[in-house]
């Protein structure tokens, strides 16, 4: 299978942070979109754990022990999958 197809299939199976459930822990798998640099500056990096704390127009989540508020546009660019625990 070509690598781009693998990536597409993987992307389809991932949730965006907007879709993720409040109160659960997730692992960041990929950042997609123009806000990547802004997100990485605040600790949203691949393989980092994130906990979603609140939904809304702006989401609240905890990343690297820091609470961060981010717009749903940005949260859409964070692709996560649930952690095993």
């Amino acid at each position: 299978m070509p690598p781009s197809l693998v990536q597409d299939l993987e992307s389809d199976s991932l949730l965006s942070l907007t879709q993720a459930q409040v109160g659960c822990d997730f692992q960041i798998r990929r950042l997609e979109g123009p806000g990547c640099d802004q997100l990485r500056n605040l600790g949203f990096c691949e393989s980092i754990q994130v906990r979603k704390l609140a939904n809304g127009r702006n989401l609240i989540c905890s990343v690297c022990g820091t609470r961060v508020a981010l717009s749903s546009d940005l949260a859409d660019q964070v692709k996560v999958e649930p952690t095993d625990s």
Partner: protein, 625 residues
């Protein structure tokens, strides 16, 4: 800064505690807070190393990365790269890192290490990190990075001796780099690996006090109840509680005037001291308690970490006027003073949003307008101060200024169009901390002193000139109105009157407005002097007596001069006019163009004049004149 001293720079992410460390090392009282972006310009100071060697210290604005970012972050980047024309490249950089969040804070440290400047890492807030369950290993961190690492608690002054020792000669050598220089991916991966080794996080997510507080303070309903409650307490304290110390100042003024009047013979000199200096300057100084309270509350919100929560709550509302929650911080600061408010816009990433915020910030009623409002509002209520009606009118004044600012912001934002690079709302919500009382009080006293200094210099000067202009040339007459019309002010008033009369003012009020273009608060003192024609009135320096005097004033046809229509018109003028030259200068500096500074001044003055004219004419139609 002495050229011979070594230059040490404090750098790191926003809200890492750099300014707290700077204050602790230099003994300064630079403003600190608990939200990202308190420091927006480079602060300089001096300190000594553990061996007594003099060192120059600079505190750089926080930045997440040396690439991109807002204007304050660009300043930090230029200094660290040696591209700043005014500040030489630092000899050593102290990277201040929040120990609770090494994964993120390490990135800037690695970028600085890449610049091949000697680096010392100050691992700050280790107490909070350990309380959150992190297992810190500063020795491991030092080994991995190849630079000295000193655990500190800047707010409690712990670890400072060790930090000073690490700043002695020879400076640490630039370490071997274990990642691919210039490759963000490789740097990030290395940073995460080091953070995992040196700061092990507990497996389970533990709910902290901040989490619990945020569940209430950021709740969609309860959060707003708390926000409105906090704002209400803030304004209630300013307009009600402050009355107690204001009474003390008033009594002090009366007492001083009494002593001088008892000790000096009647004459021009006694009049100058009692009416010009004590009456004029005193009428402004009396508002000191309110100004101190306003700065105290804003300091409390900044220091505790609530300011970021307020920005979060306000984002939805602000987005409707084309701004983001980040504009809330500068706009709220502008209620105290537009100058720090305009400077605080440096934390806004979008250049166009920043410009719009700067443009409308002076419409947030600043503390200098308070004296004017406090003089005028009771005149609408039959002269009595206090009470629910007065609070309601005050609230309306603040709401009117704020709403107009939002409408203009919406229009201007639409005209400027979207940003070339779209920016999104992304804000760190720092853990709640106990306020740093020492810095809050020192900052409040600092602002209070600045206010008094202004009262003792600019306002005193204007008051003396105004006293002279209302006294000379003298006319030998018993009619005080005739005496006044013969003086310099009387003559100026005649010239101004036809211009300001359609707004409901006579020439003397017009003159008082003119004098207040140097500083708004001068208006009260000017009115006290310009309308103080009844020498028998002993308490003329108090607001009540000014109001009594104004209430007696009539037009030549016998109509009341300060009718509700005229008072409302005057209030409208002060809500909208930009009568603050330092603000214009700061706007010009921040926007990089006098075009914006002067444009804003002209726009707001014309807007104020036209609004005042329309309101007066409409009120006249409704019979309020």
């Amino acid at each position: 800064m002495e050229a011979s001293n070594d230059l040490i720079a404090l750098a790191g992410n926003p809200n890492a505690g750099k300014t707290t460390l700077f204050n602790a090392l230099t003994g300064s009282i630079e403003k600190v807070g608990n939200y990202p972006g308190v420091t927006v310009s480079v602060k300089q100071g001096g300190m000594r190393s553990a061996h007594g060697k003099a060192l120059d210290l600079i505190d750089l604005p926080g930045c997440y990365s040396l690439e991109g970012g807002s204007p304050d972050q660009q300043i930090a980047r230029d200094v660290l790269r040696g591209d700043n024309a005014k500040i030489p490249k630092p000899d050593l950089v102290v990277c201040v890192l929040d120990a609770s969040n090494l994964e993120r804070h390490l990135q800037i440290a690695l970028e600085i290490i890449e610049l091949e400047i000697p680096v010392v890492v100050a691992l700050n807030m280790v107490d909070l990190a350990e309380k959150a369950g992190l297992r810190l290993d500063p020795v491991k961190l030092s080994e991995e990075l190849g630079v000295p690492v000193v655990p500190i608690q800047a707010d409690k002054g712990k670890g400072l001796v060790e930090l000073k020792q690490s700043l002695g000669h020879p400076f640490p050598a630039t370490p071997e780099i274990h990642w691919e220089t210039g490759d963000a991916e490789s740097r990030r991966a290395f940073g995460l690996q080091v953070a995992d080794l040196a700061a092990r996080r507990p497996e389970a997510h533990t709910s902290t006090v901040s989490d619990k507080l945020d569940r209430i303070l950021l709740h969609p309903v309860l959060g707003w109840v708390c926000f409105i409650g906090i704002m209400f307490t803030l304004f209630w304290s300013i307009f009600s509680f402050a009355g107690i110390p204001m009474g003390w100042i008033e009594s002090l003024q009366d007492w001083t005037t009494g002593i001088i009047e008892g000790a000096m013979a009647e004459g021009d000199l006694r009049d100058l001291i009692t009416q010009g200096i004590i009456g004029g300057v005193g009428s402004v100084v009396i508002f000191l308690p309110q100004i101190l309270l306003l700065f105290f509350f804003i300091g409390l919100m900044e220091s505790s970490g609530y300011m970021s929560r307020a920005a979060f709550l306000m984002d939805g509302f602000m987005s409707r006027v084309g701004l983001s929650g980040k504009a809330f911080l500068p706009l709220l600061s502008s209620y105290a003073c537009a100058i720090p408010g305009v400077m605080a816009t440096r934390t806004i990433d979008s250049p166009k949003e920043r410009l719009v915020t700067i443009f409308v910030a002076p419409w947030m009623s600043c503390s200098a307008r308070l004296p004017v409002y406090l003089l005028l509002v009771p005149m609408l209520l039959g002269g009595s101060e206090g009470g629910a009606k007065q609070a309601l009118i005050f609230l309306s004044i603040y709401v009117l200024g704020t709403l107009t600012a939002f409408v203009v912001a919406r229009i201007l934002r639409g005209k400027l169009g979207p940003d070339e690079v779209p920016t999104h709302f992304l804000l760190e919500l720092p853990p709640y901390r106990f306020p740093q009382w020492k810095y809050i009080f020192r900052h409040v006293l600092d602002r209070g002193w600045a206010f008094l200094k202004n009262a003792g210099t600019v306002i005193l000067g204007i008051m003396i000139l105004l006293w002279a202009a209302t006294t000379y040339p003298k006319l030998d007459s018993d009619d005080p109105a005739e005496v006044l019309s013969h003086t310099i002010v009387g003559r100026i008033s005649h010239v101004i009157e036809p211009i300001v009369k359609p707004m409901g003012f006579d020439g003397r009020t017009g003159t008082a407005i003119l004098t207040s273009f140097a500083a708004r608060e001068v208006f009260v003192g000017s009115m006290a002097q310009l309308f103080h024609v009844d020498e028998a009135d002993e308490d003329s320096e108090t607001r009540n007596s000014i109001r009594d005097q104004l209430a007696k004033e009539t037009w030549p046809d016998g109509r009341k001069m300060f009718s509700p229509a005229a008072v409302i018109s005057l209030l409208i003028f002060y809500i909208y006019a930009l009568q603050c030259l330092p603000t214009t200068a700061v706007v010009a500096r921040e926007t990089g163009s006098w075009k914006w500074g002067i444009g804003q001044f002209i726009f707001m003055t014309v807007f104020a004049g036209v609004a005042s004219l329309i309101v007066y004419q409409l009120a006249k139609l409704f019979g309020l004149a």
